[in-house]
């Protein structure tokens, strides 16, 4: 997967669709130079969006818990990964999947088709596929879904020889940022242990057990690894999700001697290596050193990361 030159571009909103209480999918179209840049986007790369130009929803439409923070004036851009990229002749349509959690994402919900927003990207290093692998295990926790969904699709298209198995978990059914789950009845959820998406079968787990396995998604991963006969060095794990889940995933990978790439998150001011805010503690020569999530990551080899939580 090749990397393209980053830049400051304008994208045109093609859709902005609510898919769950707090979840939305936003489409953006790029042309010209921007199109060229984003056509080469690698799953796991991200971009920085300027949402300060968007309006606020009416007061009554703002969730109670965000009412106080919603009015904060936005200064910084917001980083988002992508869950899909479609190349359509000269144009490229990218898609992000976002969760409404604060001042920026609440404004994002008012973006409408035709609105123009400023985007800096594509940024960072995405997932890579080492030569020797024949099995890819995709492990998602909650809002970690977007880059892994994108990766699933790219693996299916560009590496059909690789067997791809998906694992996805969250607190409870409402916390899956997926239309495939948000659309279902309680009963359907109850009996759902896996589902198909982007050509992959995903095993499901939830802390509350209202969907799939009751417990951590990493338990399903461990179970799978325990019962598989393949050479461990032909397997690779790709994971994105909350810090605790990534730590568990990394520990499992370590235990089974399996390669693992994790996509990390950190508060970012710039996304392009200027501010040093997004430090991730990594193992270094005879100690630890900080690497930059935005520039050296967000995807890291799990063996390099010093997990904190």
């Amino acid at each position: 997967m090749s990397k393209t030159k980053k830049g400051l571009f304008e994208g045109v909103v093609s859709f902005n669709k609510q898919i769950g209480e707090r979840f939305y999918r936003l489409g953006l179209r790029f042309k010209g130079e921007a199109g060229k840049a984003f056509a080469g986007l690698v799953p796991g790369q991200f971009a920085e969006f300027d949402i300060s130009t968007a309006g606020l929803p009416a007061c009554g439409e703002i969730p109670d818990d965000l009412r106080d923070s919603a009015r904060r004036e936005l200064l910084l851009r917001r980083p988002f990964s992508f869950c899909n990229v479609e190349i359509d002749g000269d144009e490229v349509e990218v898609e992000i999947l976002y969760c409404v959690v604060g001042a920026g994402t609440i404004r994002m919900t008012t973006l409408a088709a035709g609105d123009i927003i400023s985007v800096v990207g594509p940024l960072g290093n995405g997932f890579s596929v080492p030569e020797s692998k024949s099995t890819a295990l995709l492990v998602v926790g909650g809002m970690g879904a977007p880059p892994i969904l994108h990766l699933a699709k790219v693996l299916k298209e560009k590496h059909p020889e690789i067997e791809t198995v998906g694992f996805v978990g969250a607190k409870s059914a409402v916390d899956f940022p997926l239309e495939e789950i948000q659309g279902q009845s309680k009963d359907a959820l109850k009996s759902m242990s896996d589902f198909e998406l982007n050509g992959v079968t995903w095993q499901v787990a939830s802390d509350e057990g209202d969907i799939g396995h009751k417990g951590f998604v990493t338990e399903k991963l461990e179970e799978w690894l325990g019962s598989c006969d393949a050479q461990k060095d032909t397997i690779i794990i790709y994971s994105c999700g909350p810090a605790g889940m990534l730590r568990n995933t990394a520990a499992i990978a370590e235990r089974h001697g399996v390669d693992c790439q994790v996509s990390m998150e950190q508060m970012m001011a710039c996304g392009i290596g200027l501010c040093q805010s997004c430090a991730i503690e990594c193992k270094g020569d005879g100690g630890t050193e900080y690497k930059l999530c935005c520039k050296d990551g967000p995807v890291f080899d799990s063996r390099d990361v010093v997990f904190k939580v």
Partner: protein, 310 residues
């Protein structure tokens, strides 16, 4: 009136192509911004703070957004003097702009030692003395607020910096900034830069803890602009004008209009900090905007704007 506008400026003996700098801690070591702009078109460039030894910096979170501003507590994370000279000087040399290296330290000796090493580097036009970072302490009082210490450290570094321009960076969190400015000038500063960030705090009411791992951080961005403009004007009127010392004015600059405000207030050059994060490359737009303003106003030389507040 002719269309020709001269936006070059004289700054402490340096001839700068224009008055716009990118400033310490917000523009890396020069290479990071080049995807977005021709860094060589800048009037000047100030590096991230350099210390004698490498510093890992603070734990995360290191930043948090506030209304029209942000707090940072990076903790002077930097690669250290040695690696800086090895790996970065070459990059900076290619920038074709006037480069200032921002120097920080724990003690006067450290400042002097780092400056001495840098004084012999051809790629560098000047040293920016960072005595306004909240992490640097001596006897419980940070360097930048005690006029006697400012005088002492400035004189010591002045001796070490050879023919490089010595610029002293002032903190805004003092009772009377003309006192600290005067101390720097008396110590031999060739230029002053202001403002550094304001110590501030953001609390997460769900956890009851400060958002930043370091608890406090420095406030920058548009929120502080009107205070910074006032302080630049004060230092210009009370110290810099008579001393003939130029000011690099900064704090919340995001547009050409902001930059012009600082120049009218008394800044000979202006620094773009936080805005680099939001619109990398905005410095170039600011240069163009300043040119356009001068053309529209019939200002032949941009330096004619400096300190003209009516």
């Amino acid at each position: 009136m002719s269309d020709a506008v001269d936006i070059s400026v004289e700054f402490a003996g340096l001839k700068l192509a224009n008055p716009v700098f990118t400033v310490s801690g917000t523009c890396g070591y020069g290479d990071e911004l080049s995807d977005f702009m021709d860094v060589g078109s800048l009037g000047g460039f100030v590096t991230k703070s350099i210390t004698a030894e490498p510093r890992k910096g603070n734990a995360t979170p290191r930043i948090v957004e506030t209304d029209a501003g942000m707090l940072n507590a990076i903790g002077l994370a930097n690669i250290g003097l040695e690696k800086f000279i090895e790996e970065k000087i070459g990059v900076l040399e290619k920038l074709k702009t006037s480069v200032f290296v921002n120097v920080a330290g724990q003690a006067i000796e450290e400042y002097v030692q780092v400056t001495e090493k840098l004084a012999s580097e051809k790629a560098i036009s000047g040293i920016e003395l960072n005595i306004s970072c909240p992490n640097v302490k001596k006897g419980g009082i940070s360097f930048g607020t005690d006029p006697a210490l400012i005088l002492e450290i400035t004189s010591a570094v002045k001796k070490a910096c050879g023919n490089k321009v010595l610029m002293v960076k002032l903190t805004p969190t003092v009772t009377d900034i003309s006192v600290t400015a005067r101390a720097a000038v008396e110590g031999g500063a060739d230029a002053l830069s202001l403002v550094n960030t304001f110590t501030a705090m953001s609390i997460d009411i769900e956890t009851g803890k400060a958002v930043l791992a370091n608890k406090t951080g420095g406030l920058s961005g548009p929120a502080i602009k009107p205070i910074a403009v006032y302080l630049v004007n004060k230092v210009y009127n009370e110290v810099a004008k008579d001393a003939g010392i130029p000011i690099l004015g900064m704090g919340g600059i995001r547009t050409a209009s902001d930059a012009i405000e600082f120049m009218i207030a008394g800044a000979s050059a202006v620094g773009v900090g936080t805005a680099n994060f939001i619109e990398p490359g905005c410095a170039v737009k600011i240069i163009e905007g300043i040119k356009g303003y001068c053309r529209r106003k019939g200002t032949g030389k941009v330096s004619d704007l400096v300190g003209t507040l009516g």
